[in-house]
């Protein structure tokens, strides 16, 4: 069952500065729950219209094909509490036991990023600030190219034009199994994020 989280911090998820998340402490209780050996996937965005079907379908495919105990963390940005309609929709879906819903407060977002195997972008579920925070913290980013924009992630993410649920599920499986790919995505993401910090010349 999705967990409703009552937001108390006066910070909207989408207001999180990407260069400030590194110094924020994660919510340790959530981190303890999420740091499991099973896969943990993260989706974040303004989800007032609900969780995109392609994402939900991709996660259900992943559960069926790869890891039945995988987890999906859904963070609703831009609001102190997740939309009720979204909570209701997630509660009604077949994978509801494996999904948690929270408002994207900084400490919650930090915990989710630290625990996640990847941040998944979908056309209808992405947030530029969260994507930048993932790059800064070394969290792989995968999903729909249209949701990322090349300017945001460059070559630092595993992105697909016109990503289908099957393609998304396959990407999740690949990231989960391929440590080298995760390392490449992490380092490219960091370089990408770094370019935003300074316009200095790349090292020799």
């Amino acid at each position: 069952m999705p967990t409703m989280h009552s937001a108390v911090a006066a910070v909207h998820g989408s207001d999180v500065r990407p260069d400030g998340l590194a110094t924020i402490a994660a919510n340790l209780a959530l981190l303890a729950r999420w740091q499991a050996r099973a896969a943990c996937w993260l989706v974040a965005g303004d989800l007032r219209t609900g969780l995109p079907h392609d994402l939900l379908e991709a996660f259900e495919l992943y559960l069926a094909r790869c890891e039945a105990d995988a987890r999906l963390i859904v963070l609703a940005t831009g609001a102190h509490e997740p939309p009720q309609a979204l909570a209701d929709a997630l509660q009604a879906c077949a994978a509801s036991a494996q999904i948690e819903l929270h408002a994207a407060q900084p400490a919650v977002l930090k915990a989710a990023l630290l625990a996640a195997d990847a941040l998944i972008l979908s056309d209808a579920a992405s947030d530029p600030a969260v994507t930048l925070a993932a790059l800064e913290l070394g969290v792989p980013v995968i999903g729909s190219a249209a949701a990322a924009t090349a300017a945001l992630t460059g070559a630092a993410a595993l992105l697909w034009p016109g990503a289908t649920p099957a393609l998304l599920a396959a990407s999740m499986e690949r990231v989960r199994q391929d440590a080298r790919l995760r390392g490449i995505l992490r380092e490219r993401g960091f370089s990408d994020w770094n370019l935003r910090r300074t316009a200095s010349e790349p090292p020799a």
Binding site: L114, A116, E201
Partner: protein, 401 residues
């Protein structure tokens, strides 16, 4: 002269720490050949990392130092992460993959501190100004997060690695595998890196023993064993006290300590605590001791034990520490022990050595130190190493242009 930088977590006259002393020594040894700059933090305390010194540029003995502020002190958040690392994650025991994702491992390193985004900004902005950048000690955030801002051709890692739980976090191995230029202090340290990280490239250079001139021995009225440095359970000092308390004939000998007491030494007639002493007094105490004891399991070099050997004093070390065991086995300048009973037995032996036997063992230790870790020897090896890295990077850059 070419400009190089050395990144280290602390740098100040008041700081006591092995890797900090190493960074400063390397700055000094390289100073005649390069324009050396130390990039460090404003912290002096290696637990809190509180900002204690002014940020900005300063000079020490002609070497430029740039200090950058830490953005938080170590707090409950990190201690809770550390508790989980030790009790739940246990990367040294658990089969891979590590329970913590890479981002969480890096969170542990970041909040372990000292975390200095301004130092990273400096490296980003000025990396093109340095012919090479040396990063001293693998463990802390300035090296871990800073080295990735420098290309692998011009970065030189000085890990000062020992087998401790955080070293098993896979992100360390992954990060440092990308940086092939490394300086090891001993062969044992390099073997430790092979075992923990799967890496073995780099040069074994060591650290110069600066306090090698022979001193007149101190006399304390009874034979004594000496410990110098941070007095702490983490350094094995509790085991040392326990062993000495069980020593036969304990009341005819003394256990002498110098350094900072973080343990709270008990009051006993056979314990003498001298607090901080200057180098001359330390050498005299070393020269006069029946033996110098280093009970720490975790040492990547131990300059203080080598200083004692340079005074011709036999040393007794924890045989679980591969580096120290190598010093002893190679030099024949002392003994190792692997349990408390053996520690007591070896301490008894040291206190009972006759003068010729002590002199033979002491001479072997002193010869080992002077041959391997004399200042000129280490300087020559260090300059060769750094010049080699710079020349290779320059060639690669020229051919790419």
């Amino acid at each position: 002269m070419k400009r190089i930088a050395i990144v280290t977590q602390r740098c100040h006259e008041s700081v006591v720490g092995g890797s900090e002393a190493l960074a400063w020594q390397y700055a000094r040894l390289l100073g005649g050949r390069f324009e050396v700059e130390i990039l460090t933090t404003t912290a002096t305390d290696c637990v809190s990392w509180a900002n204690a010194l002014p940020a900005g540029a300063t000079q020490r003995e002609g070497i430029a130092i740039q200090r950058f502020p830490t953005v938080f002190e170590r707090g409950e958040y990190w201690y809770e992460l550390h508790r989980r690392l030790m009790l739940e994650v246990q990367p040294h025991l658990a089969p891979p993959p590590c329970l913590w994702r890479a981002a969480q491992q890096e969170e542990y390193i970041r909040f372990q501190g000292p975390y200095c985004p301004a130092l990273e900004d400096w490296l980003l902005a000025h990396r093109g100004d340095y012919a090479a950048v040396l990063f001293c000690t693998y463990l802390y955030a300035p090296s871990y997060f800073g080295i990735r801002l420098i290309g692998p051709r011009r970065a030189i890692l000085i890990p000062t690695l020992h087998d401790e739980v955080p070293a098993w976090l896979p992100v360390y191995a992954a990060r440092y595998a990308a940086f092939p230029h490394r300086i090891w202090l001993t062969e044992a340290e390099r073997r430790t890196a092979t075992r923990l990280w799967g890496l073995d490239g780099g040069a074994v250079l060591g650290m110069a023993v600066e306090q090698a001139q022979a001193s007149a021995p101190a006399s304390l009225g009874a034979p004594y064993l000496l410990y110098c440095g941070r007095i702490d359970a983490a350094k094995g000092c509790d085991e040392l006290l326990d062993a000495f308390a069980r020593l036969p004939g304990r009341d005819r000998a003394k256990l002498v300590f110098t350094g900072s007491d973080h343990l709270g030494l008990p009051k006993h007639p056979w314990i003498e605590y001298h607090g901080f002493v200057d180098e001359a007094r330390k050498r005299a105490l070393m020269a006069g001791a029946a033996g110098f004891v280093l009970p720490s399991r975790y040492e990547s070099f131990s300059i203080v034990a080598l200083e004692a050997m340079a005074q011709g004093t036999p040393v007794l070390v924890n045989g679980h520490c591969e580096v120290m065991r190598e010093h002893i086995e190679t030099s024949a300048g002392g003994y190792c022990y692997t349990d408390t009973a053996q520690m007591i037995e070896r301490m008894t032996t040291l206190l009972a050595l006759d003068a010729p036997a002590r002199a033979r063992m002491g001479a072997a230790g002193r010869a080992y130190v002077l041959a391997r870790y004399g200042e000129d020897t280490v300087r020559a090896r260090l300059v060769d190493c750094v010049e080699g890295v710079i020349a290779a990077a320059d060639r690669a850059q020229a051919s790419a242009a």
